[in-house]
Symmetry: C2
Subunit: 430 residues, 2 copies
Amino acid sequence: MKKSKKISINKKNKFGAEILCIGSEILLGNIVNTNSQWIAEQLAILGIPHFRQTVIGDNPARLKEAIIEASNRSEILITTGGLGPTPDDITTKVIADTFETPLEQKNDILIDLKNKLKNKHSKLSESQKKQSFIPKGAKIINNYSGTAPGIFWTPKKNFTILTFPGVPSELKDMWVKEASDLLINNNLSKEIISSRVLHFAGISESSLADKIPHLLKAKNPTVATYASTGEVKVRITAKGDNLKETNRYIKPIEKELTQIAGLKCFGVDNETLEELVFKLLLKRKETLAVAESCTGGGIGSKLTKIPGSSKIFHGGVIAYNDSIKQRILGVPKEIINTYGAVSKQVVESMAKGVQKKFKVNWALSVSGIAGPTGGSKLKPVGLVNFCIKGPKTLLTWEERFGSNKTREDIQKLSVLNALDRLRLSIIKDE
Amino acid sequence: MKKSKKISINKKNKFGAEILCIGSEILLGNIVNTNSQWIAEQLAILGIPHFRQTVIGDNPARLKEAIIEASNRSEILITTGGLGPTPDDITTKVIADTFETPLEQKNDILIDLKNKLKNKHSKLSESQKKQSFIPKGAKIINNYSGTAPGIFWTPKKNFTILTFPGVPSELKDMWVKEASDLLINNNLSKEIISSRVLHFAGISESSLADKIPHLLKAKNPTVATYASTGEVKVRITAKGDNLKETNRYIKPIEKELTQIAGLKCFGVDNETLEELVFKLLLKRKETLAVAESCTGGGIGSKLTKIPGSSKIFHGGVIAYNDSIKQRILGVPKEIINTYGAVSKQVVESMAKGVQKKFKVNWALSVSGIAGPTGGSKLKPVGLVNFCIKGPKTLLTWEERFGSNKTREDIQKLSVLNALDRLRLSIIKDE
């Protein structure tokens, strides 16, 4: 093992948590395992280091093997799945067997199961009763929305197991209401890790990264960039003893980033472009309508996902067919014939038309070639024209997203680009 | 270990595949690991049994440990991530070190990397060149869209490693174009597993399951139901020596299911409701427009995702504000005042209005209370009215999706319900 001598792991110094998801349906690819990601985030918030995630099927031998491995490697094992009443649900039994501990029926769980039955006079079946057995010495993690409770158990020194059902909503509820506190109160949570995500539009990941090489090298807080369709995210992650301390580390970096990026930084944490447009217009007590061709209703659909969006969003026209652009939006036939439906002249006429017809302060229009067909050398797939008409604004522009992009991506990029430019236009409309 | 004697695993009989995803960003919960699910599905298709999925961070010691474990347990290890040019990307090096094999620079990869550079005259950096090194004796799995290639390597008897980048689109492309064939040609693919998914609307998972208890018990093919918002799926999975054999098992079950469900079964495999509406209208050479209130453009957005949808879809009106229902769609003010915007009378007037204005054969309208506010005792959150107006059809109906549902779910259910009823109306419009 000459080459690999540097690589070794100190087995004595076992620490941190690992996640074990149990369920053949995950192995078969029938469902995406979102639980691991959610738990990973929670562990980070609690400052519990986390080094491994595993998925195995509903197989007792393999499950036992995985539990033993984890108990030799980590301080905390978090399992999901296999707590229900069916014969496939083996988690609790196998955990107890692994540590040679008998199962014990808990009256509290039995009463809870009875209460959750639809008809309270009917009897619990044997398989339902199975859920009331937990290893001797284990604590219950109550399940408020489903039937199967979890356990919090330390079967051997320096090793604690927490079990959760596989249903994401039940797991989350149990974590927030009980498990998180159990981890903190049992001193399993070390230093706090907290993070903030900044959202950027109108800048590429590499040009943003080029502006902040010193931040990307920093250790606490760390700064990392992530790119997705039409957006770049930057995550600032700090470690500390408490939220006050981590905030003290994050704040100056956040300030520096927003100063560097200016208006290109549009939001924090879960904020979206459509929410910012909504908030800006709400503040100005102004209204909006859209005229969408190649996005087919995608902008309207995003805006109306916001509760209360009717206060600013009056609606719009999906002008997919050219005759609709003429008849409903009043775009002159000659303009379409002269310049083509995908042109600055047409989007400007669409925006003016919808602003007038819908009697709104702001109008946003889009017309482009989403592909995969319909492109030409002069007007390739991915060419999209936009117009924003506001109280003092008239802005038309074109984007060339690239003819190698999929129809879906071109539509998505068009929606995000339009919303971002609208946000900037509202801010600048003075 | 009295209780656990039954639980044991035969280490000599190692077989099957496992998946190892490498990347600290997965452990931190920054991204959902969708690669595991996709690979799991592909392994099932190739009939390669699959027992374990693991995620670890960019840590050489832990990575080596995970590779050794897998090599003692399984026949095939599939890794994702850690193939790029940055110092974090350690996968190839650690794999080579684990099996005490030197890395070898491949000229083919070097040429490919050069060609992928934007400016072909610029030089490859040292970190870019790193990607051209693979363990001696390994085959290249070419990466057509990204830079980092993967490897197919059998470092010891009865153990083969395949590596892929973490970018899902690159991984999929490499699997489909090369890796799948490598697995088959090296006799690593055993019996074939093939499956078909049927899609159902307008029926609940439990009522469908109640009609097919005999199918749900079957062994080959197996039949399983899955519920998601507004839809139920049934997956039929058969094992056999070849596709002809698995098809022979699947066909009669598929036939039985479609006979039991009738028109409630709307599609096969990746077919969507909007595609079926598109195909039905295309065949009849008829056109469609929509008038959307609470869905805000969601129906139009779905329809325009289909390439060529302009052949049947002319557009529509997002009539989010009541004044738009009046002014653009011509809904009489008195009807709105008398019955309210969410009423059968209003959706009927909206559908007739958009059919006339847009000069189309079919019109679909929606008006409802998506919440979370705006509900009353008589008209609670989740109440949605619909109307379909076709050449011989006039159908209005209401749904009560439930006031406990989220705004997002109510909008999604409204879109799917509308498209499903439209599909049925077109079929019946004779």
